[in-house]
């Protein structure tokens, strides 16, 4: 099976060339298989978000190799990275990060609108379907900020899935939710992962949820400290 994500000796420093230059990730080697459901755990400040942003092509590594869906990213320009990101990656953030000026439905359609240039009927149908699946029927036309935290996170998941990405990156998607809602959201991600085969890399502090993943990668001080499979 090909790897959807392949990292080799990935390093990231902040403040390069300044007196406060610090290396945050000290050479990470990870592979994530297609359809794998993997937890990224570790103490606060260990570099989990940084790693996720690098894999999500939102930031560039200082050195090392990063391949997404078989494409080496080192030589790509900003435009090509944007395309690669748009085509293969869906994000779910801790603070849902919906666009407040748009409705739930429009938020879910947004990745498609960005890709197609306009909102297509297909995209609308898919968005309706996804909102139904995440249990938000009847909330389609509410503005993002008229929804509860849990509802917003469901919208964010629907949005991440709207273009059937091969990789979903979720940074503490349940971090802000009560246990019950967190379980629901986690279950949703797991369901979609099984159903569609999207790989999922999920950052979590919750050992219960981590235990339900295929694999756990533990990061400590910018290094992979432990990997365990279930």
């Amino acid at each position: 099976m090909t790897a959807i994500v392949a990292l080799r000796d990935l390093r990231k420093s902040y403040g390069v060339g300044t007196p406060v230059e610090t290396e945050v990730l000290h050479g990470i080697d990870i592979e994530l298989a297609e359809g794998e459901f993997c937890a990224l755990i570790g103490p606060s400040g260990s570099g989990k978000s940084t790693l996720l942003n690098l894999i999500g092509l939102l930031e560039r590594p200082t050195s090392g190799d990063l391949a997404i869906a078989g494409s080496e990213t080192a030589g790509l320009n900003e435009q090509a990275l944007t395309v690669l990101r748009g085509r293969h990656i869906g994000f779910v953030f801790q603070f849902h990060h919906l666009l407040p000026a748009f409705t739930a439905l429009e938020n879910v359609m947004m990745p498609s609108i960005i890709e197609q240039g306009v909102a297509t009927a297909d995209a609308e149908a898919i968005a309706h379907d996804l909102l139904l699946r995440v249990g938000l029927k009847g909330h389609e036309h509410k503005k993002a900020n008229q929804l509860s935290g849990g509802q917003q996170q469901r919208v964010a998941i629907a949005r991440a899935l709207s273009r059937s990405p091969r990789l979903i990156l979720a940074d503490e998607p349940t971090g802000n939710l009560d246990t019950h809602t967190a379980d629901d959201i986690f279950a949703l991600l797991r369901e979609f992962n099984r159903e569609r085969g999207s790989a999922c890399l999920i950052v979590t502090h919750d050992p219960r949820l981590a235990a339900r993943c295929d694999r756990r990668i533990e990061l400590v001080d910018g290094r992979v400290a432990h990997v365990s499979s279930s």
Binding site: L58, Q79, V118, H141
Partner: protein
């Protein structure tokens, strides 16, 4: 609710504008006000200038050819006055070969009408009243294309033959005569004639209403002792601002004294030009202020929308498209403000033209809005809007999506 129909950049630009209600309203108000000021001022000034020029040229030929004078033409050059072509009696001379000169003038490009005129000083006498007048021997058909006499006639038509004469309403009042009466005219040289008044005119200028007495060329020639001659040739050109050009070429071609209205009214023209310059200055200031307004509002908006920009980037929007969103906002604000501003200017014109009137009750200016002015204002506002958005848009494009998302 239907799904949004607009292209991505438009959709997001409009939502962002709608979301920033107060800011958007304020900047729209600013652009509207600015455009209204520019359009209103431009329209007003161009109209007032047109009216002034119209008044000046209402009773004056665009170009006049006269015999070469040895000296002291200066007295006639008072720019503020309406130039009455009134050579001194002792100097009254004919243009040599004036028929050839008329043909020469007619052959010039951009010349619309040419009219030979026999003019000179005389006295109009009736009872005890004696008034100094300017005898104007004309071919009515030719002359009405120089000065639109038909529009000025209060009685009778502009047509002269035999011993008929057409005089101004002021002279008629001074002499106590009207159409059908006779008036005795004596030229400086002593020749005289009894003229039959067949028409009255009001040219909108009391001095000329008091002085001009129109007769046939033949009659004027005999009274002024200019057998077969003419004292000047009046010319109308297609574009009034071509007059100087035409006159210079005629001067070179004929060797006569040729003057355009632009020379005779050079101070007036200079004043009009100064007015235009100050108008342009005001316009530039307003444009700069409006541009700064748009810029500053968008800079603030970019900071406020930092998170949204990050999200859009994470979802696959390139930095160029983010830039496009903000440029569009500038353009939309500029264009919408321009439309509203043109509307407001139109309203102002309606209002002020109904409030401000000239002495005789006519509107001081027309409530009419020039499409050219309106269109160019809208276009300029659009361009200024986009240019003003350039700096904020580049900032938005450069924004680090991770910073935005982490915050």
């Amino acid at each position: 609710m239907a799904r949004p129909k607009l292209p991505f950049e438009f959709l997001v630009a409009l939502r962002f504008l709608r979301e920033g209600r107060m800011q958007t309203a304020l900047i729209l108000l600013g652009v509207t006000g600015g455009v209204a000021v520019i359009v209103f001022l431009s329209q007003l000034i161009s109209q007032l200038q047109a009216t002034i020029i119209d008044r000046v040229l209402g009773s004056q030929a665009h170009v006049v050819m006269r015999p070469l004078e040895e000296a002291n033409q200066r007295a006639l050059n008072d720019p503020a006055s309406i130039a009455v072509i009134e050579p001194r009696a002792q100097r009254l001379r004919s243009i040599d070969q004036w028929e050839a000169m008329v043909k020469l003038a007619e052959a010039q490009p951009r010349v619309v009408a040419v009219s030979p005129v026999v003019s000179g000083p005389a006295f109009a006498l009736r009872g005890r009243a004696s008034k100094s007048v300017a005898l104007m021997g004309v071919d009515a058909d030719r002359y009405r294309r120089i000065v639109k006499m038909d529009g000025y006639m209060t009685r009778g038509t502009f047509h002269v033959e035999g011993t008929n004469a057409i005089i101004g309403i002021e002279l008629a009042k001074d002499l106590g005569v009207t159409v059908g009466d006779k008036v005795f005219v004596r030229a400086a040289g002593g020749r005289d004639e009894l003229l039959q008044i067949t028409g009255l005119f009001d040219i909108g200028n009391k001095d000329l209403n008091r002085r001009w007495v129109f007769t046939t060329m033949k009659l004027a020639q005999s009274l002024l002792d200019l057998p077969g001659g003419v004292s000047n040739i009046d010319i109308t050109v297609t574009d009034i601002f071509d007059a100087q050009d035409v006159s210079e070429r005629l001067q070179a071609g004929s060797g006569l004294t040729v003057e355009s209205w632009m020379t005779t009214n050079s101070q007036l023209l200079a004043a009009l030009r100064n007015q235009t310059v100050s108008n342009n200055l005001i316009r530039s200031f307003v444009i700069v202020i409006v541009a700064l307004g748009i810029s500053s509002v968008l800079v603030v908006s970019v900071v406020q929308k930092q998170k949204e920009i990050g999200i859009l980037r994470a979802m696959g929007a390139s930095s160029n498209r983010i830039m496009g969103i903000f440029l569009l906002q500038g353009g939309l604000v500029g264009f919408t403000g321009a439309l509203a501003g043109v509307g407001l200017a139109w309203g102002l014109l309606q209002f002020f033209s109904s409030v401000y009137r000239t002495g005789d009750g006519a509107p001081l200016f027309q409530p009419h809005l020039d499409t050219g002015i309106a269109l160019s204002a809208a276009l300029i506002a659009l361009v200024v809007g986009v240019l003003a958005a350039l700096i904020p848009a580049r900032r938005a494009a450069k924004m680090d999506p991770v910073q935005a998302i982490r915050a």
